[in-house]
């Protein structure tokens, strides 16, 4: 074992392997930082270059990229409130509020320090745990995966702010969205509205970018504020080194989160999706003072960022040692292994042990290098938080829409992004939590598949009481809900306060959302009755039967608060006027008009021209930039779309009416 570790280390530090590792790290930092790209896109781009390389440098290049995307995706999570990937969702909850307080550099300092620690710790822990990993993996059968998925969803629903009821409704809505398209168990299409785009379900990237990105950009545009709501001069105590010191103060939380990340990460298909939430939940539950969670508590950054980097090595081991890829990224690495003529399995732990260890070392070293480089850059990056809104909004909108386009390169991606932008805006104004929707989308198919398979394989529901791990997870779910309901676990800052600050604007928007959700759920329930096979309709029906009563409850609460608000305002007209002002309705509609304009222009002249035209018009009309500055900004965006997305990524743009494909 020791010989293998040393031989692996020698492989990594031989030339050109170490050079390729650094190259992979640089590219990984870049694809991780651009919303919508991420590790999978990066691996696909690099894969062809590795065909003719020796295994060690080839894997150094790929692992360098794979290891660090979850470090650099923190940039958009903290600065823009947009999850760069699934792994950075939980970071938004406290990272973005820290940026708003002008403490982005502090959040970056903490995030990069723990990312480096998590990556190295996870890699070493996995190396030491090789002999016991197989029994752990196989102790988790279909029922355990099902319950773990539910636990992840419960934690997000309960911990991500707003009321528990609304968190659970949003989770149910997300699960319902995952039932669109072909059902895994029967191959029968559901809820697809005779639209080909929906046949295989809605891709998650346009949803995440629309749901989180568009509302934040809208708020910046409407309020004309920078990301930070305080001046740079007032943030002297929020620097990068303070973030590093925070990690030392919370060293035990860091260590526990790394353990959670490494061991949950080895569960194929599930680990990487929920690991940050489990770590975040642990940070909240173990904290004595929970009052700052959701408002910018540094522990809310430390826990998920440690865990998601620690999970990378954990996810690699089942792929290498047992041929079990747990994610799309791992599947690509597996295919790279096969292209090299290497067999995943016992050989990777015996004859090719040095190569296996070299990959683990790749992960550890890549994490340290990326964290160091990002530390050097973070002072500059965090200055983005203090830039005027109008100089940030158009550029980020271009990156956001092109990120959505990467999903399937069809206009459906943009419509989804736009629809989710409207929904995200309504949820933000109505005080509804957004993270449960994304996690439900990640876990939905997995939960349904494991549910269907469990019910086919295990007779009845005896598995719920006969399998010890299942029972433990059930207890964890119940405890999470009960403690949250009693206000013990959930931080005070996240609890609904019906009487304080629950303005009429929030009540009206929340009421509208409850009504819309209720109508959607009832329609879906009726539609589900028409499915022929029980296996096709069973899961959506179970979700809807849970969601409908919860939505009725939320609707009743919102109606009561709205009526009370109308009374306080002195009538509906006055209440509506107050709400409209609070929403910034006129400017918000103008903003959505701009986004619709981009889509309409894309149909006409194509994205390559539509996006720069939007940038120029926005900068000139809304941002009051000079003509020269507006055109320069537009030209830079044109070059980014053309150079990055068309030339490097070879994306096909929409065949427009005027210019074709």
């Amino acid at each position: 074992m020791i010989d293998g570790m040393l031989a692996g280390l020698m492989l990594v530090f031989s030339w050109p392997t170490i050079g390729y590792l650094f190259l992979g790290v640089i590219i990984g930092m870049w694809v991780g930082a651009v919303p919508g790209l991420g590790g999978v896109v990066g691996l696909v781009l690099l894969l062809p270059f590795t065909y003719s390389m020796e295994p060690a440098p080839a894997f150094a290049l790929l692992m360098g990229l794979y290891a660090v995307t979850s470090t650099s995706d923190t940039i958009s999570a903290i600065l823009l409130g947009i999850p760069g990937s699934v792994a950075s969702q939980a970071t938004i909850l406290d990272g973005y509020p820290l940026a708003k307080k002008g403490q982005a550099a502090r959040a970056f300092g903490a995030a990069y320090t723990v990312s480096a620690f998590g990556g190295v710790f996870g890699a070493l822990l996995m190396a030491a745990s090789l002999p016991i990993i197989l029994p752990i993996i196989f102790a988790f059968g279909l029922p355990e995966f099902l319950m773990l998925g539910l636990l992840g969803l419960t934690m997000v629903g309960v911990l991500s702010g707003g009321s528990i009821v609304k968190g659970l409704i949003v989770g149910a809505f997300g699960l319902l969205l995952t039932t669109i398209g072909y059902a895994e168990a029967t191959g029968v299409p559901r809820f697809y509205l005779n639209t080909e785009y929906l046949l295989d379900g809605i891709p998650i990237i346009p949803i995440a970018l629309g749901l989180f990105g568009i509302p934040e950009l809208l708020e910046m545009a409407v309020k004309n504020t920078s990301i930070s709501r305080v001046d740079a001069a007032d943030t002297r105590d929020g620097g990068m080194m303070r973030g590093v010191k925070d990690v030392i103060v919370h060293r035990w939380l860091t260590l526990r989160s790394a353990l959670i990340g490494a061991y949950v990460g080895i569960l194929p298909g599930l680990g990487g999706s929920i690991v940050d939430w489990i770590a975040y939940g642990h940070a909240v539950q173990s904290a004595k003072d929970k009052s700052q969670f959701g408002k910018g508590d540094i522990r809310g950054v430390i826990a998920p960022e440690t865990a998601n980097n620690a999970s990378r090595a954990g996810a690699l081991i089942p792929t290498l040692a047992f041929g079990i890829p747990g994610s799309l990224g791992a599947a690509i690495l597996l295919s790279a292994l096969v292209i090299k003529g290497l067999q995943p399995g016992p050989d990777m732990l015996t004859v090719n042990l040095d190569l296996t260890f070299s990959m683990i070392w790749d992960i550890a070293i890549a994490n340290v290098v990326a964290a160091g480089l990002l530390m050097l850059l973070s002072r500059q990056i965090s200055k983005v938080a203090f830039l005027p809104a109008h100089s940030v909004v158009p550029g980020v909108m271009v990156v956001l829409l092109m990120g959505a386009w990467v999903a399937t390169s069809s206009m459906g991606d943009w419509w989804t992004c736009l629809a989710m932008g409207v929904l995200g805006y309504a949820m933000k104004q109505g005080g509804w939590p957004r993270p449960p929707l994304i996690l439900a989308l990640v876990l939905g198919t997995l939960i349904e598949t494991n549910y269907q398979l469990t019910m086919q394989i295990y007779d009845g529901l005896s598995w719920m009481v006969q399998r010890p791990i299942v029972v433990c997870i059930e207890i964890a779910i119940v405890v999470t809900i009960v403690l949250a309901a009693r206000g013990i676990t959930r931080p005070k800052s996240m609890r609904a306060k019906p009487h304080e600050g629950h303005g009429i604007a929030e009540s009206f928007m929340s009421l509208g959302l409850s009504a819309a959700m209720l109508a959607l759920f009832i329609w879906a329930y009726v539609a589900a009755q028409a499915f022929e096979d029980p296996a096709t309709s069973e899961f959506p029906v179970v979700v809807l039967l849970t969601a409908i009563p919860l939505t009725l409850l939320a609707f009743a609460q919102d109606a009561r608060l709205s009526v009370r608000g109308i009374g306080v305002a002195g009538g509906f007209a006055a209440a509506w006027t107050a709400a409209s002002e609070q929403w910034g309705l006129r400017l918000s509609l103008t903003f959505f008009g701009y986004v619709l304009g981009i889509v309409a222009m894309a149909y006409t002249v194509g994205q390559l021209f539509a996006l720069p035209i939007f940038v120029a018009i926005y900068a000139r009309r809304w941002g009051r930039f000079s003509w020269a500055a507006s055109f320069t900004y537009a030209a830079v965006c044109f070059l980014i779309v053309w150079g990055l997305y068309v030339k490097i990524m070879k994306l096909h743009l929409y065949p427009s009416l005027l210019f074709g494909g």
């Binding site: 999978v40 691996l43 696909v44 894969l47 062809p48 065909y51 196989f138 059968g141 279909l142 072909y182 059902a183 895994e184 168990a185 029967t186 191959g187 029968v188 299409p189 080909e196 046949l199 295989d200 194929p268 047992f322 041929g323 079990i324 890829p325 799309l328 990224g329 791992a330 599947a331 690509i332 690495l333 597996l334 295919s335 096969v338 292209i339 003529g341 067999q343 995943p344 399995g345 016992p346 050989d347 399937t408 390169s409 198919t445 598949t449 269907q452 398979l453 086919q456 394989i457 096979d533 296996a535 096709t536 070879k650 096909h652 009416l657 005027l658 210019f659 074709g660 494909g661």
Partner: protein, 353 residues
Amino acid sequence: MIRNLIATAMIATSLLAVQDATAEDFYEGKTVFVYVGRPPGSGADLAVRSFVRFWQKHIPGQPTMVVKNVPGGGGSRVWNLAWDKKKTGAVEIFFSPVSGMAIIVKQKGLRADLAKMPLLGALMSPNMTFARTDRLQSAKDLPNVKGLRFGGQAPAHRFSILGRLTLDILGVEYRNVAGFSGSSSVFNAVRRKEVDIQTAPLNFYRFTVEPNAVESGDVIPLWFNPIINQSGEIVPLPAAGDIPSFIDFYESINGTPPAGELFEMYKWLLPNVNGIVYAAFMPPDSPELALQILRDSFASVTEDEDYRAEERKMFGFNLPVVSSEEGTAIIDNMANAPEHVREFLQQYIKKGR
């Protein structure tokens, strides 16, 4: 109107260009996109990417070839995309697994008529069935073991249909567990003792099952589904090694060759659904010169010793090749499947849910 004029002008220009071009300079300096309807990292993605690496060297002018993944619609989206490119003059390749079942039962979502799209060439991917050893000591015990669980993907998936058909022909009492997301997921369930029998690609067996479960004695191979050509002859499959074909397996257990309605269906499916897997098409109305160049170069890759060596490294054997003529006949057969075959499959798929 403007769009139509521009499109007409573009097509006319491209057709003129095609007429003037020779095989040598047709692709020179061009970028050819190759679409695969499965996600990156999947078996199909791997097969296509490795083929394409060699393909570009065999095309006169050596164009740049870029593989793009367009998964979705249960594998139909890529074919619909190809269908929508008809009459655009686009010189693009669509190289992806063909779902014969989707063609035969006219699956919802598959708008493309593959029988009307020009085929460049195709590869087969043989498949086989294996079982856990804790439920049966040897393959011969299979018909006597009760309550076995057969794990498969969607009920209309090729492996689900072939696996169930073979078990039904043998008269095995089993429970069908459908809905796994891929061969790896089913195999995980096999290793966790949640299912007992699985049908999977032969290369998956060689690369994943054999080293991880056969060598440890947890799993034994049962049979492979033979490759039958359009003349009804069994094509030898050296890659199967000692594993018997299903027909030999049946005979070794029952002493007589298999017969009956189910076996007739199996025999019909083998040369069709199992006869073509990774197929490379171009959109309808693609330029004739482009077609000819790509057909010739496709055939030439399959004879390239370097490619064949690479294929053996990745799959453990060489994937059997299907010429464009043979493949077109297979696609035609499936598109015009007899009504009784279509009805049988529709019912059989329904029963598997």
